[in-house]
């Protein structure tokens, strides 16, 4: 019973601690500005006047938000670098595992071959 009560209290605390957080002001504008420069955006149908006005505003905002785009590129470069690092560590780990496999096999092999001059 006490455990159930503890769980309920913890759950209540979690719900309170995890109440939603707002992104910064201009988040939606940031999305639209990014959309304006996104080469993969889907083709749009013929524009209404209201949509055309909105796009003119977005184009003007994109000049100001050019710095923001540059920041995003930096984020992308960082992601690529971290991915390369992750792959490197993974490659070294696999290499280490296979060296260990070889060492165990050499130590306990039933039939090991001497180093051979293959193809020379």
């Amino acid at each position: 019973m006490s455990d159930e009560r503890n769980n309920r209290d913890l759950e209540r605390s979690l719900r309170a601690a995890l109440r939603p957080a707002d992104p910064g002001e201009g988040f939606a504008a940031g999305v639209l500005a990014r959309l304006a420069t996104d080469p993969a955006r889907a083709p749009r149908p013929r524009l209404s006047r209201a949509t055309a006005s909105w796009l003119a505003f977005a184009a003007a905002a994109s000049v100001v938000l050019g710095l923001f785009v540059a920041h995003q590129r930096q984020v992308l470069r960082t992601e690529q670098g971290l991915e390369a690092r992750r792959q490197l560590i993974q490659a070294l780990r696999v290499t280490g595992e296979k060296l260990e496999l070889a060492s165990r096999a050499v130590n306990t092999s039933e039939r090991s071959t001497d180093s051979s001059h293959s193809g020379a």
């Binding site: 009560r5 503890n6 605390s13 939606a28 209201a50």
Partner: protein, 193 residues
């Protein structure tokens, strides 16, 4: 919001699918808090969270014609946000403590619990593995039941339940062990209520 027609979400979806950018922007504003909060609590970094949340909406724009209903939209946003966050966490090493301390962004409403406990819970949440963290967030932030969580994450229901059980146990144990006065969580709960 001023100047924004009170369209239903269904209408906004239809209009956005037809290329109405204003309707799309309205959808963004309606869902940005949920998407951003999920990103923030998964990634524990405000800049990364904002970047991820924007990416999710960009992807929504490209895929909007495949979203069938308001319910589907909410499901779609949660799934894409969590999957992208987990992908990022798998690619990147853990954040420094300095970055973690900045990740407790401003919540939309004032706290109902002790702010120290609140910070501690968020910090402990960040120590959970990505999949477990996602399950806990979908349960206690998004208020999904385990079956909905299993659908969202494409995870077996028993795995969801197991994550919840173990995560709560781990959180309870850590909070109990770390109380400076040696009081258990049960004592704290009596104080909080």
């Amino acid at each position: 919001m001023s100047g924004e027609p009170a369209w239903t979400e269904g209408t906004l979806l239809e209009r956005a699918s037809a290329g109405d950018t204003a309707a799309f922007a309205a959808l963004v504003r309606r869902h940005q808090r949920s998407v951003y909060s999920l990103s923030l609590r998964m990634l524990a970094d405000r800049f990364q969270a904002e970047d991820l949340a924007q990416e999710v909406f960009l992807q929504l724009y490209r895929s909007i014609r495949s979203v069938e209903s308001e319910t589907h939209l909410a499901f779609w946003l949660r799934r894409v946000t969590v999957n992208r966050a987990i992908d990022r966490l798998r690619r990147e090493p853990p954040l420094s403590q300095a970055a973690l301390s900045e990740a407790d962004g401003l919540a939309a409403e004032p706290s109902e619990i002790d702010p120290i406990l609140e910070r501690r819970l968020r910090a402990l949440l960040r120590e959970l593995a990505p999949a477990a963290r996602a399950v806990v967030l979908l349960r206690y932030q998004e208020d999904l039941d385990p079956t909905e969580i299993a659908r969202t994450l494409k995870m077996p229901l028993n795995t969801v339940k197991s994550h919840l059980k173990r995560s709560l146990a781990a959180l309870r144990e850590r909070l109990g062990n770390e109380d400076p006065d040696g009081r258990s969580l049960a004592s704290d709960a009596r104080t909080l209520t």
